[in-house]
């Protein structure tokens, strides 16, 4: 059993009564261990919702989502929190940091909450990650004292602190300039190559082109899928063209 996430027949409806909106329409999606999957689609197509329900951060109206062998909808809230803390990492479009902690404490936080008591070791790990993501030296900075790109890297460090099996990334480069964007994507590819699965939602074909597999959503359904070779520093342009061609084919 190599599947880390298995979503079957997922239905997600927002609102009640006459104001109901069906955002996911019986979607099937899965992520294998170590796989890098990108989800693309126009605004309102349900791609972010898909990421949130597959990660258990939002509940589903119908269908099933399994993490390994565990049905997420069966878990109690605390058990779900444990899974998120121990097995999953999250990166959001806007860096989600706590205002009253400095960068280092923000990064350490989930690991500390996980009961890891050896702070010297935690700090060492955080610093290593910060070095790797190019933000060494910013440990004691306030989150208002660094740039958006630096904050997003700190977010990645935080997501990696507990060595997750899978990283969920919701438009991680959406708020960044193209240079920062490139650097973040390179980082994600490295992380993936070290064995962490990634499920990433994006608007950007160039970003999606680094994935092993691209899912295209439209009107609450997955309408198409594009399989690519594992990215290994080869030319991004040709992969991007493939993604664009597929998009044109399904009309998004």
């Amino acid at each position: 059993m190599n599947k880390i996430i298995t979503g079957k027949n997922i239905v997600k409806i927002f609102g009640h009564g006459s104001e109901q909106t069906k955002v996911l329409n019986g979607v099937n999606a899965e992520v294998e261990k170590g796989e890098f999957v990108a989800v693309m689609g126009p605004s309102g197509s349900g791609k972010s919702t898909l990421l949130f329900v597959l990660s258990g951060m939002d509940d589903i109206t119908g269908g099933s989502v399994r993490f390994g062998d565990t049905e997420l909808s069966q878990l109690k809230e605390n058990e779900l929190a444990d899974v998120r803390r121990k097995k999953m990492g999250f990166i959001f479009q806007q860096p989600t940091m706590l205002k009253n902690l400095d960068i280092l404490d923000n990064i350490i936080l989930p690991a500390a909450q996980d009961g890891k008591k050896d702070f010297a070791q935690l700090t060492q790990r955080a610093k290593k990650l910060m070095k790797k993501t190019g933000i060494a030296g910013l440990e004691k900075r306030d989150i208002t004292e660094v740039s958006g790109g630096q904050l997003q890297r700190a977010g990645i460090c935080r997501a990696l602190m507990n060595e997750p099996e899978i990283l969920f990334a919701d438009e991680p480069t959406g708020a960044l300039n193209s240079k920062s964007s490139e650097e973040i994507m390179e980082m994600l590819v490295d992380i993936n190559q070290e064995g962490t699965a990634i499920l990433l939602v994006t608007h950007d074909s160039k970003v999606a082109a680094r994935a092993d597999r691209v899912l295209f959503t439209k009107d609450g359904d997955i309408v198409s899928e594009l399989k690519l070779q594992k990215f290994s520093g080869d030319k991004i342009e040709s992969r991007t063209e493939k993604v664009l061609a597929q998009m044109a084919a399904v009309g998004i």
């Binding site: 444990d82 899974v83 998120r84 959001f92 706590l98 009253n100 902690l101 936080l109």
Partner: protein
Amino acid sequence: MYSRLIKNDIRKTKLITAAITVFILVSAMLVSLAAILAVNLFGAIDNMMLTARTAHFTRMHAGSIDMAQISEFAEDNANVESWQVLEYLNIEGAQIVIGNENLSWSTQDNGFSTQSREFDFLLDLAGNVIVPQDGEVWIPLYYMKTGSAKVGDEVAVHGVRLTVAGFLRDSMMNPAMASSKRFLVSENDFELLRDRGIMEYLIEFRLFDPAASTTFESGYIAADMPANGPLAITVLLVRLMNGIEDGMMIAVLGLISTLVVIVAFLCIRFTLLAKIEEDYREIGVLKAVGLRVSDIKRLYTVKYGAIAAVASVLGFLLSLAAQEPFMANIRLYLGVSGREVFGVLAGFVGAAVIFLIVMLYVSGVLQRFRKISAAQAVRRGAPQEKTRAARGLSMNGRILSTNAFLAIKDVLTRKKLYIIMFLVIVISSFIMMVPQNIKNTISSPDFFTNMGIGRSDFFFTVTNAQTQDVLGLSAEIAKQVSQDESVLKYAWLTTQLFEMPPVDGAIERMQVTLGDHGVFPVTYTHGAGPKTVDEIAISNLYADDFGKSVGDEIVLMVDGAEKQLTVCGIYTDITNAGKTAKAIFQAHGVDILSSSVWVALDNPAMTAIKVTDYQAKFPAARVIGVNETAAQMFENVASAIGQASLAAIVIAALLTVLVTILFLKMLIAKDRYPIAVLKSMGFTTRSIGRQYMLRSAIVFVLGVVIGTVLANTLGEYAGIALMSSFGASTFPFEINPLFAYVFSPLLLALCVFIATLPGLADIQRVKIFNHIKEA
């Protein structure tokens, strides 16, 4: 349009609207209640004094009396409208048997009188002048309150049998604090009793100008008029004593009301600022399209105007309902006020004042609109909170759990936010403790030392009214006491009247108590007690009268020669109408007014037995237990404040619960985003809840500590302000540690805990998805 706007807004913020309504309502109710009670209290006092035609100046006198001298004095004094001398037959409490019980427990001077002909009438409870029939006795209201008598009871006085026909309202001696009580009988019955007690006289005057009663008093003393008795009562003192019990309660209500208004302000400020932050962009837009600041302000003031108006009106109406038990007490003691309508009007004005204050405050907070730049508001929305992470506190090297760490860090970082809840806890502690402290202080036996009475177990008083040989009898008492092995220490004091050298032809006199004042010291507000024969300590009323302070000189005529004395201390006194002095020099051949022997026992628990023993041994002296006297004198005041204190506890608990619920709900609403972030990182609802619990706990502990300290220090000044009407100008608070340090914090802690729970449910409801997406 406004009404729809208000309705929508209120529907969206039900809880906060309800809380603010309650605060305004409670303060409007209390202010209105205090106003209604004050008007009726003073109305009732005036009304009673009018019906009873209360004397403007009364001097009790024992011994022979020269009517011609009084008549001459009255004719010479232009201010005297009329005068009379009433007989007051002092009878030992043990000889007055009501039903099966006698009044030996009572520390009051009990005496029998007939109805007066001219003025100073004794009234029945309907406010009519009583005409007692033969065989009837009318009992002072005081004994109705103590439950000692009821209508129809048989009263036996030295074998004379009378029936209780009713209770009487005595404009002069009604309150427990007036230490004498009058029983009313018919003239025939009075003749039967005449030889069974000690005759004293009430020399009474009605004045054309009652306000000048104090001046009149000096004139009376200067004229060497009869003054051998415990009491000189001016109309001012009558008014004060009648008003003090309910007056103190009204003052406590006023104090609580002030604090509740402050809490209401804090909540209004907090919610208004949050609302402005929320509406920042809209306000900018309104400004940009050309609305004036006053127009925009109106949109907000209308809502608070509606809330404040409804709450004030409701508070006023509630005060009308709540006044009944308080008014019942006033009606019983003092009768109808005749100003009921005016009282209701005053209550309404009180509530209206609260409304106005709230509106002024809202308007003040909304001045902030002026600062909003339209361009900035539209483009960027509300400016970010200017918070910086509290430095010097980091995860590394901490010993606390992650939750505790985050909670402390948050409180430190957002002090401004938490200060509101902190202040409310401080105020609640204050409201809870101060009235309780005042009550404890009054109930404490040591309170007497602040009132000019040394801390002893019991004392003997010997006056001319009781014996011809005051000195001889007191010497005998002192001798017996000195030989009594159960006596720890004693002091023999004599009170004498000294003339002062005439100033501008007028002779002033000073009552000075001589003896060793170091044995049972009183508390001095300034300086200390007399240590040499050239020193004198004076009561604060004397200090005011003569304009003297510590270090000043006072000259007395002692044994025919002038004696220079230095004022060494000033103290508060309630005995002898507040005019006393203490010195240790010797004097001979001066009028001795009274003599007293003060005693402390090895075992104070023996006091009651000793008092009975000594009273039997020395029937001509009065033996008085100090604790008992204190208890009887102040029990009504203490119970009135006790009532107010109970109300205060309920209000403080209510405030704490409401504000904490409100505060946490708003805080959690504000914190939806970081909560979602924490949840996304795998924090459970429970552990986030624990953080909020801990934040409340931190703020709570700080609030209670500061509140307790303030209540026990600053509160003392509030207490002193309230009690200065007694003439007590300073005294330390008597704190009941069990209440102040255990019960009160525990009750508040319970309130905070309960109030935190609804907030926790809100944390549960925060969905990661919705809030992370918002960012």
